[in-house]
């Protein structure tokens, strides 16, 4: 069963964080990815650029509209995702608890419905 861990947290610039905090964050993410990989549950992981670099595309009155900024302009933003493949929600909760952003934000566990492998859709089992 695939679960996507959505990492939400307040965005801070590198200068706000400072070099030491940044290095510590990188270490924590590296160690977390390695934990997931060694457990054989890691499907993919990605840390996103700041939401200031986001561009949104939507349709307004039949016209495609392209706009600067993220979908929701909130203090906390989606900062990254991990997709894991584990037997059940308890296992997913176990890995979500170890995700570094638990310490400074929120980790949402969203079960997958279907996903694409080699161009075809597969149910989440």
């Amino acid at each position: 069963m695939r679960y996507t861990l959505l990492l939400h947290y307040a965005e801070m610039s590198p200068s706000e964080l400072g070099e030491e905090m940044l290095a510590e964050g990188r270490r924590a993410f590296a160690s977390y990815a390695s934990t997931l990989h060694q457990a054989g549950v890691l499907v993919s992981g990605e840390v996103l650029q700041p939401s200031a670099n986001s561009t949104t595309v939507t349709t307004v009155d039949g016209q495609v509209k392209i706009q600067d900024g993220p979908y929701a302009d909130t203090k906390e933003q989606l900062g990254g995702t991990f997709v894991i493949d584990v037997p059940d929600l308890d296992a997913a909760i176990g890995y979500a608890k170890q995700a570094p952003p638990v310490a400074w934000g929120t980790v949402e566990i969203r079960p997958g419905a279907v996903h694409v492998v080699d161009g075809t859709w597969h149910p989440n089992k």
Partner: protein
């Protein structure tokens, strides 16, 4: 107990006697087996709604078949066989339907029911404990945990739970459906947490079972609490909860009954109750559960609350209330799990031992403006201190805050008595 799910539809009067016998057999099986069968049928794919439907259909079939064919030797096994065959049929047809790729997510597989093939209907395993942990899973909304237990383990209909909770029946039904869908779709496992996870996972289960008692002071809640304790084996707090519910229910016949610890604690003057009206059998039963709980080095919240109830019940034997013992227990409860209820109760008990002024002094530190027991206790202490002018408005405020009309009436009587 009669789970609403097995209540018979209109039936032919000619076959009334046989139908009655079948009906009674179904009810008998349902009491012990309903939750066991639901747990077993739902566990493989986590689908509670489907398991309940299949079981309801099996009960329905029993009520048409048993009057003619007679009640089978192993009714529980008979019901399981009918229900699981039905589940397998549903899954087979579902597998055929879900061929479109984007709908395929619904197909968690008919293979999930393969374990049933090896199942011996004569030796049905009990997976209710796993089901209880599913109902009170941290991923399930806390407000729906108790209703889920009442429905899936005890077979209550949504409408009955809605009435007990004063919630519109349609809203309750929808919330139950949503919770069951999440259990299935997010795959919450039907397992008993291991030793490491238990300290975190057990309290919400105890809380939800206690909730069943709080909303519907019934024998079913006591059955649930005792079942949980028995299934867990040697879990002191579970036995403490079983003792608490049993001892509290032993005084159910008294109109001035109040739930322990929580809201209403220390409000109703237990000392005015006639111990002869209490259920001696239940008191003995509750005390035996408490004895099983007391193996723990440090008593937990439910054991302390059960012990408080045991002290009150002991008046049936000794003819007097042991206030100093109550003070020790409430002091301990305030240390490990302080609540408004326990603080107000400690003030009331202190008032009995050291005089009303000492109780009022403790109560002043609580100051809970909208908490009914606070005002009821304050009124009682003021009346005992002879401060009538202050006692009257306190009784009035307590009466106004009472949910239970009988309690409000009682308080109004008191208000008039101090005038």
């Amino acid at each position: 107990m009669t789970p609403d799910a097995v209540r018979p539809a209109a039936m032919d009067k000619a076959a009334a006697a046989a139908a009655d016998q079948a009906n009674r057999a179904a009810e008998r099986v349902a009491r012990g087996a309903y939750g066991r069968l639901v747990a077993l049928l739902a566990a493989p794919a986590g689908d509670l709604a489907l398991a309940e439907d299949a079981l309801a259909a099996a009960f329905e079939r029993a009520l048409t078949t048993w009057p003619e064919a007679g009640v089978p030797d192993n009714p529980e096994g008979w019901l399981l066989t009918v229900a699981r065959n039905r589940l397998r049929d549903i899954w087979k047809s579902a597998a055929h339907r879900t061929s479109a790729p984007l709908e395929a997510a619904a197909d968690t597989g008919a293979d999930a029911y393969a374990p049933f093939d090896a199942l011996d209907p004569d030796a049905i395993p009990d997976q209710r404990l796993g089901l209880l942990f599913v109902c009170a899973h941290p991923g399930i909304d806390a407000a729906i945990r108790t209703p889920l237990m009442l429905q899936t383990v005890l077979g209550f209909e949504a409408a009955r739970i809605a009435t007990a909770l004063a919630v519109p029946p349609k809203a309750m039904a929808q919330r139950l459906v949503r919770a069951k869908r999440k259990i299935k779709d997010a795959r919450i496992p039907f397992v008993v947490p291991d030793r490491q996870a238990m300290p975190e996972r057990l309290p919400p289960v105890l809380e939800a079972v206690y909730g069943a008692y709080a909303i519907d002071r019934c024998d079913e809640a006591q059955y649930l609490a005792v079942t949980l304790a028995a299934l867990l084996g040697e879990e002191p707090e579970a036995w403490g909860l079983a003792a608490l519910v049993t001892l509290s229910l032993s005084r159910k016949n008294e109109r001035s009954f109040s739930p322990p610890g929580g809201e209403g604690a220390a409000f109703v003057p237990l000392d005015e109750q006639d111990p002869a009206s209490w259920n001696a059998e239940m008191i003995a039963e509750g005390e035996s559960y408490l004895a099983r709980a007391q193996k723990a080095a440090t008593p937990g919240r439910f054991q302390l609350e059960a012990a408080i109830q045991a002290v009150h019940c002991d008046r049936a034997r000794t003819g007097r209330t042991d206030w100093p013992a109550l003070r020790i227990l409430y002091t301990a409860l305030n240390l490990i799990e302080p609540s408004l209820g326990s603080r107000v109760a400690l003030a009331a008990v202190t008032g009995r031992i050291d005089g009303p002024d000492a109780g009022l002094a403790l109560l002043d530190e609580v100051a809970a403006e909208d908490f009914q027991p606070y005002h009821a206790t304050r009124a009682d202490l003021l009346a005992r201190a002879g401060r009538k002018a202050e006692a009257r408005p306190a009784y009035g405020r307590a009466a106004a805050l009472s949910d239970d009309p009988a309690v409000a009436r009682y308080l109004r009587t008191r208000e008039r008595a101090v005038s």
